[in-house]
């Protein structure tokens, strides 16, 4: 009898400990990024990191660790990707949620979600062998490895997130909203666009935020097709270098415990902050939508 009760308690403690590990990992990541990231500023000033316009850690004599071109690269590719993905994603979600039923719905959603799990190197490879030559031919430019290519790939990669979260947001709009609209003579289309879509707007915004997080954190696909020059892009056809690809390219060839090494952790810290911020906002938006239907 006592053994049984002991086991019961033990199980509970074990399960709690496993759950606390999740918190521990998040804190652990933060601590390590801070610990190493902060040491960047023994070699360069905070100002020249945050506001520096040049990223050139290998420069002989005067290396520079300016975040701006990389941050610009990450933001420009991601924002451009979202410009493509948002209308696609919301339209797709409206169609899936309001029109598709049964097996077709399951099939379409499964395909969309499976694409979210596609290896990003494979998508990057596709961008490299198909999209790059296509872009270079269509626009008559020597190389198709540029901002446009990266953004198109990121658009596709963020679509599953946007579609899936937006579809969930549309689905939780209570049926009574639709019925009320039908009752006053609205068509299905009018109901979907004027009633359901506005009611789900914070949930859809959450989907967009999560898509943003997915795109800005993507490494391999962007690394393979973006051209990787650490310059602030001025046109669609300029090569760009994102924060993620900078870490991926340079960590392997950087000696440990140098300013350069620490600077890459500082970049990681920036990514971590963006991802965490995006996630928390998205979470509160989803909560807000659900709450709005309770009252």
């Amino acid at each position: 009898m006592d053994l049984r009760r002991f086991r019961d308690r033990l199980a509970r403690v074990l399960f709690l400990a496993a759950s606390l590990l999740g918190v521990g990992v998040l804190l652990g990541i933060l601590v390590y990024l801070l610990l190493y990231g902060v040491r960047t500023f023994q070699g360069t000033s905070v100002f020249s990191f945050l506001a520096g316009l040049k990223w050139n850690p290998d420069a002989y004599g005067e290396p520079s660790y300016g975040l701006v071109p990389l941050l610009a690269g990450s933001f420009v590719t991601t924002v451009l990707a979202l410009v493509i993905a948002i209308p696609f994603g919301i339209a797709g979600a409206v169609f899936i949620s309001e029109k598709l039923k049964g097996a077709v719905r399951v099939l379409v959603k499964t395909m969309v979600e499976l694409f979210a799990g596609f290896p990003s190197v494979v998508i990057g490879f596709f961008g490299l062998v198909v999209l790059a030559p296509l872009i270079s031919r269509v626009f008559g430019i020597p190389s198709g490895l540029n901002l446009l290519n990266a953004s198109v790939l990121l658009a596709f990669m963020s679509l599953p997130t946007i579609i899936s979260v937006s579809d969930d947001a549309l689905r939780v709009v209570p049926q009574s909203y639709r019925e009320a609209a039908y009752a006053v003579g609205a068509t299905k289309w009018t109901t979907a666009i004027r009633v359901v879509l506005p009611a789900a707007k914070s949930g859809i915004l959450a989907g967009v935020m999560l898509g943003f997080g997915r795109a800005i954190g993507e490494t391999m696909a962007v690394l393979m097709v973006a051209g990787n020059a650490p310059l602030i892009p001025k046109s669609l056809f300029d090569p760009v270098r994102t924060i993620t690809s900078t870490i991926a390219v340079e960590l392997g060839e950087t000696p440990f415990y140098t300013t350069h090494f620490y600077a890459l952790f500082a970049l990681g810290l920036v990514l971590f902050a963006i991802a965490l911020g995006t996630n928390l906002v998205a979470e509160s938006l989803i909560k807000r939508e659900k709450r709005s239907f309770m009252l």
Binding site: R4, R5, A11, R12, F15, L16, A17, A18, S19, L21, V23, V25, L26, I29, Y32, L33, P87, F88, G89, G92, V94, V108, M111, V112, G117, F118, P119, S120, V121, V122, G124, F125, F126, V129, V130, Q175, R178, A181, Y182, G185, T187, K188, W189, T190, T191, A192, I216, G217, T219, M224, T244, I247, L251, G252, L264, G268, F272, A275, L276, E283
Partner: protein
């Protein structure tokens, strides 16, 4: 539950829904085209030798056997770490967690972890496993890094699978005098198992394709022999594809091998996805308790 339908429909409405269908159709067509293209280019390379031989002559000939082995091994190591912890955490969140600030913090942390970019896990893996814990660049360091990354996925799906079991299952055992743990072990977990397995398989598939977390924690361009222990470096399919596609000095010559590697990776990933899908469908068909 049938949805009431509007009886009023209009020409404009049909056009509207048609317009919303087009982006979705284009997206699905893109996926299909990508498949078709990669397969049509890569299928010619596939052969028994390609799958079972190591690369030769500076990767320009031979197969990808060590990459397949490496990918499977490192994924397995990651799951050995994350599956038990993930299931325990899923049980806690579904069965024990009170509705308070602590629980909300745990949930929020887990969701945040799922949103952390994989390259950041790579950095963390370098700092913690490769250096602080002195694993060096190894299967173990890479596996643990991947394990941390897929832990939140496993927790989330395990929690969902366990929550889906009706409370009457637990109450039946409790009424007969069992402890909470006994009721969970005998009356909940066995029925939640297929759902948990689905989540594990999906996590497995996604983990196999990840490159950024292993980049600096253990994967390498070429090893003479297959990994002999957890502290060996290893070759992996996604990294192999990356190097063949962008880093190799005879990129044109190795392109067919790159296509072959891409589809082998894709087939492996999709095979586990498909298995998960089949199990999910079977759950939907066989469980009679869900209303």
């Amino acid at each position: 539950m049938s949805r009431p339908r509007s009886r009023v429909s209009s020409f404009g409405g049909s056009i509207g829904f048609l317009l919303t269908a087009i982006p979705l159709f284009l997206f699905l067509a893109f996926i299909a085209f990508m498949f078709y293209y990669l397969f049509s280019k890569g299928v010619g390379v596939l052969s028994w030798e390609f799958l079972t031989q190591p690369p030769t002559r500076g990767m320009t000939e031979g197969g990808i056997w060590p990459c397949i082995v490496g990918t499977l091994l490192v994924t397995f190591v990651s799951l050995v770490f994350s599956v038990p912890i993930g299931i325990c955490s899923g049980i806690y969140l579904s069965e024990y967690a009170p509705d308070n600030i602590a629980t909300r913090m745990i949930r929020s942390s887990i969701r945040s972890l799922a949103g952390i970019p994989s390259i950041v896990y790579g950095l963390f893996g370098v700092a913690l496993f490769v250096y602080a814990l002195k694993f060096g660049m190894s299967i173990l360091a890479s596996g643990m890094t991947l394990g941390l990354m897929n832990l939140p996925w496993i927790i989330t799906t395990a929690e969902e699978a366990i929550t889906a079991i009706p409370s009457s299952f637990r109450e039946g055992a409790l009424a007969l005098g069992s402890t909470k743990w006994e009721s969970i072990r005998r009356n909940v977990l066995p029925y939640a198992f297929p759902g948990i397995l689905t989540g594990v398989l999906l996590a497995l598939a996604r983990t196999m394709g990840e490159t950024a977390p292993i980049l600096f924690t253990g994967v390498t361009y070429y090893t003479k022999q297959l990994p002999t222990s957890l502290s060996s470096k290893f070759m992996a399919l996604p990294y192999h594809l990356f190097t063949l596609a962008t880093q190799h000095d005879q990129i044109v010559k190795v392109r067919p091998i790159a296509f072959g590697t891409a589809i082998v990776l894709l087939i492996l990933v999709l095979a586990f996805d498909a298995l998960a899908f089949v199990i999910r469908m079977r759950i939907a068909k066989t469980n009679t308790w869900q209303v």
